[in-house]
Subunit: 353 residues, 2 copies
């Protein structure tokens, strides 16, 4: 590609929950793109969507759709990515995939630009993966602390928003909340379960409740979401033996995942030292003054780009461990934003080549 | 007291959130009581409340109100207990206190009958304390596992219901939910904060949100609630040096606290071994078959007496550690029920004397 020509970007899945946020993000960020081509299923072909203030017609996914594309983002279900990202790569595009299809493939880098931008350069299959939203909601802050103190163990519990389950999750919470609002329910077993009726994508009510299960069941009682946090954190940080334990819980929040984090390091840590790192790390906002009511909550973090960190405490039993409360918008940094950042890293590489 | 005469019980704070649940519990359980005397502030004197199917008139708190009382339960604010429990004890009653006034007093036992009933016998001040609701929501299950495997460390995160903040918490969540139900809010920072208006007892919105702070701020960034979980767990289990780390988070659930627990033991553990203990331990229900969607959630546990345990997994990095998800009704076992059980233990002791 000549340095003069701006790269052509394809957004596959432009009509979805992540795709919609992506078009907003592409419209806000410094514009490094030539053509932006919008792709979805044949159901959406001909629809017009707005990006960079212009109406662009959606085209159906096909091999020809990747003609002349330099970078192709995939914001589509796993099986669609599994089939089509290699096709885009074969056509000469770099595929940046937001699905779970390739994340643990040893020939596909798993990239968070603030943590391991360098890994994006080595992509034997022409594909780069974007981590899952729960890992992404914490990993920028943990990467910064790891660089200074050397991470040895993570024990995390999540408070995951329903938009992590796509539009169906949002609709389910809104429907259920409408049914329990104004009632006196919530003091007898099964009250809420009977009132909400349809459970949507969840195995239990999500209004006036928390659900200690996300994803599908894997070996020994672990959920797929819990194993993703473990395996993806290890891969991103380049620590294949890192001790990582996660318990993933869905909560009645629309958007923005939160996590409590017990992080153990090789070296002694102090709250002051952690504050210094977190207040200067790119992509992190330190919000930690509980005396003034300052700590991150999903309602205040939603719609913003950074990873927010508060409630920083040193473990009372272990001078090498910190406790943190972390929030990140699962549709922005947790999905679309990180993909956009990866695409920009690749665009810069292509421009320099 | 003669074995023939049933003991006289006083319920101080009979009109409050915990007191109301207490009257229900006293009406349901095996009836070991003679007179049940209902006491509250002068504001409530003359009101009639139902207990054991009978109308009983509330009397105002005074020294004379304890005349002839064998056991006096206190379900009142800390400062009322601090003043009046010693007066009841001086009048010859055994005081069982649900407030935080005496829990860490070395001369006051902190009792959970399934775990340390024996401690109730040694009460130099004539006062027995009931633990806080967050500790109580997990400690029966952990006590059973400790007896078998020997506990060495707890790292817990809470998902605490609003009724833990009394009636004001419940009203605040209901009001806020009514304001956000049916809206499209929740994707821009501050949306929910502006919509809900009054924050009630919380430092941030509680509808469509989670709030990583409960109680008041103590040294080094810890909240009072987090230190209570630490100090009270140690005292109940008789393990003054137990490593305990808690992060306490409020969630939009009406009643029933949940916790994720990382529990480390002196000895190796297995899921099968933990299942065996938890399925037979008094006061515990094992609910752990995620393949069939079986795990405890607040909506199903509320209104029941036991501590429910699910999502039992052995840590992938540590054969001595278990992960658990635990739920307990914070108004029943977390407050009124445990107090009633302590009072019954004392009644049995008095009858045998
Ligand atoms: N939601 C999150 O927090 C989150 C976070 C990280 C990663 N992700 C991942 O991102 C991906 C998209 O998630 P989402 O929540 O945006 O899903 P979604 O709202 O269901 O959107 C799916 C998108 O894929 C398109 N699509 C579906 N089948 C297709 C096909 N056969 N050919 C072409 N396009 C097809 C849809 O187009 P039509 O509109 O034409 O059907 C739509 O644009 C998933 O892999 C998800 O796991 C989601
Ligand atoms: N809510 C929970 O989950 C929970 C759990 C564990 C422990 N606790 C503890 O239990 C206690 C009661 O909590 P709650 O939620 O039931 O509070 P609440 O709903 O505010 O009830 C307070 C009770 O105390 C009485 N009272 C207040 N001031 C008094 C005074 N000066 N003299 C006599 N009676 C007085 C009130 O009587 P009037 O109606 O006459 O004002 C009422 O009966 C507190 O110490 C709390 O920390 C609560």
């Amino acid at each position: 590609m000549s340095a003069a020509k701006k790269p052509t970007l394809a957004v596959v899945g432009a009509t979805g929950a992540v795709g919609t946020v992506m078009l907003g993000i592409l419209s806000e960020r410094a514009d490094v793109w030539g053509e932006i081509r919008l792709i979805a299923s044949p159901r959406s072909a001909g629809r017009k969507l707005t990006v960079r203030g212009e109406q662009v017609e959606v085209i159906a996914l096909s091999e020809e759709a990747f003609e002349g594309v330099d970078i192709a983002m995939f914001d589509v279900p796993d099986e669609v990515s599994a089939q089509w990202a290699p096709i885009a790569a074969a056509k000469g595009a770099v595929a940046v995939d937001n699905s779970g299809a390739f994340r643990m493939d040893p020939d596909v880098p798993l990239v968070v630009p603030e943590v391991n931008a360098h890994a994006a350069r080595v992509r034997p299959r022409g594909i780069i993966s974007n981590p899952n939203c729960t890992t992404l909601s914490m990993i920028v802050a943990l990467g910064a602390l790891h660089a200074e103190f050397g991470l040895s163990e993570l024990i995390v519990s999540s408070y995951q928003a329903v938009s992590g389950s796509g539009k169906e999750g949002i609709d389910t919470l809104r429907d259920q909340v409408a049914k329990v609002a104004g009632t006196d329910l919530g003091s007898q077993p099964g009250d809420v379960r009977r009132a909400v009726g349809d459970l949507g994508p969840y195995p239990a009510p999500i209004a006036f409740n928390v659900v200690p299960f996300a994803g599908s069941l894997k070996e020994d009682g672990w959920s797929s979401e819990e194993l993703k946090v473990r395996n993806e954190s290890r891969k991103i940080l380049g620590l294949p033996d890192l001790r990582v334990t996660a318990t993933c819980v869905r909560v009645p929040v629309i958007t923005t995942h939160s996590l409590t984090v017990h992080a153990r390091f090789e070296n002694e840590v102090t709250v002051a030292g952690a504050h210094e790192i977190l207040s200067t790390a790119p992509g992190v906002v330190l919000c930690d003054n509980p005396a003034e009511g300052e700590f991150p909550t999903p309602a205040d973090v939603v719609g913003t780009d950074p990873t927010w960190v508060g409630r920083v405490r040193r473990s009372l039993d272990d001078p090498k461990a910190l406790e943190l409360f972390v929030c990140g918008d699962n549709l922005r940094k947790g999905a679309a934003l990180n993909t956009a950042q990866i695409a920009e890293v690749v665009a810069a590489e292509l421009a320099a080549a």
